[in-house]
Amino acid sequence: MLALLALAPSVAPATDNVPWKRIASFDFAAETPASSQPSDVLATALSLIGRQPRTERNLARASVLLTELAQRSDTPEFAAAAAYHLARLAQMSAPGADALAVADQFVAAYRRWPGTFHGQLSLLRAAPIQGYLITDDTVARTQIDALAATAQSFTDRGVKRNLLATLAEIYYRRGWSAARAQQLTEAAVALGFDHRILAANLLAASATRAAAAGDLHAAVTHADEFLRRYPDDVRGYELRQLRAEWAASQP
């Protein structure tokens, strides 16, 4: 790794998060710090991946840096981040069904670093791959049931709510269990979403999935909550019509 870093122009180690600020504005061309600090190594690897035109050489260099970082035991957060981005690199070249092997990489990253942001993020990435690309219903259901059980222990609120939402949609789309879809959607909504449109989407889905599960009382409650929180939403009228149907059909 040191040899690789020596190829980079010599710049003092970053102390003010400049590399991350550059990456945040998609500036991948800037010189990267010649430092063995895990944050700098990770930033260097991501800059190499993002640099245009994308070259095999840059991707290979990034891969080496990430592999070495993933093996470091002194900084589990960065080791997990490196393993996560290695799996993402593999995912780039496996857009379709080939992604199932990548899902195993994500699951392995989670198992090794379950308490980290990137470990939990890895499982979020594995969920839609396994949920939609595994064609055998029984196998897929077993995997997704396991992910749903694991999600309960997640400590990162942002990752947890998104995993719950993703899993809920899988149960609903695959027609496995509207009740489970409703339960997981409600759990995701309860955690609160920062993205306003997605928060509204999920609340609307809570209502229709509850109705699909036959829980009309919950469907009405969620519809009321949606109409209260998003009075100007374009879906309000349709949801009011559905709410009236659900309310009229309640035992």
Binding site: P95, P128, A165, Y172, G175, H195, A200, V234
Partner: protein, 530 residues
């Protein structure tokens, strides 16, 4: 002695040089004087329709005066660039570091996620604080973002980056204009048709009137642009039921992506659009011959010369239309069939909502801008309730600031929320399907087109174009997710270092997780409906 001809040429050249020198000197002196004492805020946009430039000019002057009272000499300058070249112009100036202090952006006009993240500054933290120019109004305590009707969730937020980048200036809707005098003269009606059947009957009556040689007038003025607006309204309205059928998430939100995925797995059927296609053919009968080859200006002229009773146009052209017309037009919604209409109501659930009235579009702050605070100050001033009310009045826009109502002329354009989501028009599904639609539409339209022939053509070619568009959609999602990965990591590290709020990481994570889930879901072929 110099020949006379040469002498005159020399004098001409000398005069031209003198004029150029004088002009250069004048510009230099003006520029020098300006840069010495006055700070100029440059703002670019493409809003060439009547009213917008005038409105910005007046608001700009008011802002200059406000600044002067605070002891700051500032000058407001608009740079108006035609839509056709705006995207290239914007990118060139952003890359070259010569962009104005505020740039009007729109996703469809070049403001991609990559461009926004690279060259513009997110304004989430500024949007979370109240707008001081709202002091003394009901919006005084509201965060700036919550002074907009959608909380900037759609209008201000870059979809792929999940950050607030833009301050919007207006919403949009599409309506039917009519000539009240002509309508009454020909049909005896003093109000526009209220339902679809009556609308078709009115069109038929006008067409017959023309055939009887009474007057050279067509029911509807058409052009490629205006006809597309009309057809999309009709298709959206008459294919509402399909929107419900392709909603696989159950969140009542459907768009082109849902149609593409549903079509791929056999959950969307062309047969559900048969009535909508029949409606398009019917409407085609009532526009002037060759309308698909006409420009918008041609249709406007036809309507203005009172040779057409109706025209369909967007809210953004309302002021221009009013300025160009020698009469005061009436404005109404395009009437739709009722669900109980035995002939036309098969796919209709009720009134249709103005689905696309809000979109990511507005003024954004370039990172390289040297007058960040001044630019933000202008945006706060422009979007404050009282000033924006004046802007809405002058520009004739559909307001996006809470508590500001549309002026009388724009009231009929107000976004309709009490309706069902429209079906997805086929020409909005993707580029390949749009081309298929546009290039073969004449096979549906009179005089020689037929619904059966057009349906057969679509049945033969749609699977391929929809597959192409699905591929393109998947590629765009992958590109977007890959870009978001860099941002997500950067925001994770920056939030861990206390440089930014964790919510900025998590908003992006929400957006990315939803996109990635949709991407993989597109490969799943459901065997039964949930």
């Amino acid at each position: 002695m110099m020949p006379l001809k040469i002498r005159w040429s020399l004098i001409g050249v000398l005069l031209a040089l003198a004029a150029y020198a004088a002009a250069a000197l004048w510009v230099a002196r003006r520029t020098s004087a300006r840069t010495e004492s006055v700070t100029t805020l440059r703002v670019s946009h493409w809003l060439l329709e009547t009213g917008y430039r005038e409105a910005f000019a007046e608001i700009g002057r008011a802002w200059e005066q406000k600044q002067a009272k605070a002891g700051r000499a500032v000058r407001f300058e608009q740079i108006v660039v035609p839509t056709r070249v705006y995207a290239a112009w914007m990118r060139t100036n952003l890359v070259g570091g010569t962009a104005p202090d505020l740039v009007y952006v729109k996703r469809e006009n070049g403001a991609t996620d990559e461009l926004m993240a690279r060259y513009f500054e997110p304004i989430d933290s500024e949007a979370s604080a109240p707008n001081p120019y709202n002091a003394g109004t009901p919006l005084a305590d509201a965060s700036w973002r919550n002074t907009f009707i959608d909380g900037l969730a759609v209008t201000g937020t870059s979809p792929g980056l999940a950050d607030i980048y833009a301050i919007p200036t207006s919403a949009t809707s599409i309506r039917l204009y009519f000539n009240p005098r002509l309508l009454e003269q020909i049909t005896g009606l003093s109000t526009p048709p209220r339902d679809w059947t009556e609308f078709l009957a009115v069109c038929e009556e006008i067409a017959r009137w023309r055939e009887q040689g009474q007057h050279r007038v067509v029911p509807i003025a058409g052009s490629r642009v205006n006809a597309t607006l009309l057809f999309n309204l009709a298709v959206g309205g008459l294919a509402q039921s399909s929107a419900r059928q392709i909603d696989r998430r159950g969140d009542l939100g459907t768009g082109p992506a849902e149609l593409l995925v549903a079509a791929q797995h056999g959950d969307w059927k062309l047969a559900d659009y048969t009535l909508a296609l029949r409606a398009v053919q019917e409407l085609g009968r009532y526009m002037q011959p060759g309308f698909l080859q006409m420009q918008r200006e041609d249709a406007t002229m036809l309507f203005g010369q009172q040779q057409a009773v109706m025209i369909v146009a967007g809210s953004w052209t309302a002021n221009s239309l009013h300025a160009e017309l020698p009469f005061t037009p009436g404005v109404a919604e395009l009437p739709l069939p009722s669900p109980s209409d035995p002939q036309w109501g098969g796919g209709v659930r009720g009134a249709a909502t103005d689905n696309a009235g809000l979109m990511f579009e507005g003024f954004a702050l370039p990172r390289a801008g040297k007058q960040r605070e001044l630019a933000l100050d202008f945006l706060r001033f422009l979007s404050s309730q009282e000033v924006y009310a004046r802007y809405a009045e002058l520009s004739g826009c559909l307001p996006v600031v809470k508590g500001v109502t549309a002026n009388d002329r724009m009231r009929p354009f107000q976004l309709r929320r009490d309706g069902f989501r429209p079906g997805v028009p086929l020409n909005q599904v993707g580029e390949a399907t749009r081309r298929l639609w546009d290039q073969n539409l004449q096979d549906l339209l009179p005089p020689s087109g037929s619904v059966d022939r057009f349906t057969q053509l679509l049945a033969a070619h749609l699977p391929a174009t929809l597959a192409q568009d699905l591929d393109r959609w998947r590629r765009s999602i992958r590109t977007s997710v890959e870009l978001q990965d860099f941002l997500l990591e950067a925001r994770h590290q920056l939030s861990a270092a206390g440089e930014i709020d964790l919510s900025r990481r998590d908003t992006l994570l929400d957006s990315q997780a939803a996109a990635e889930s949709a991407y993989y879901a597109s490969f799943f072929a459901p065997t039964s409906h949930p």
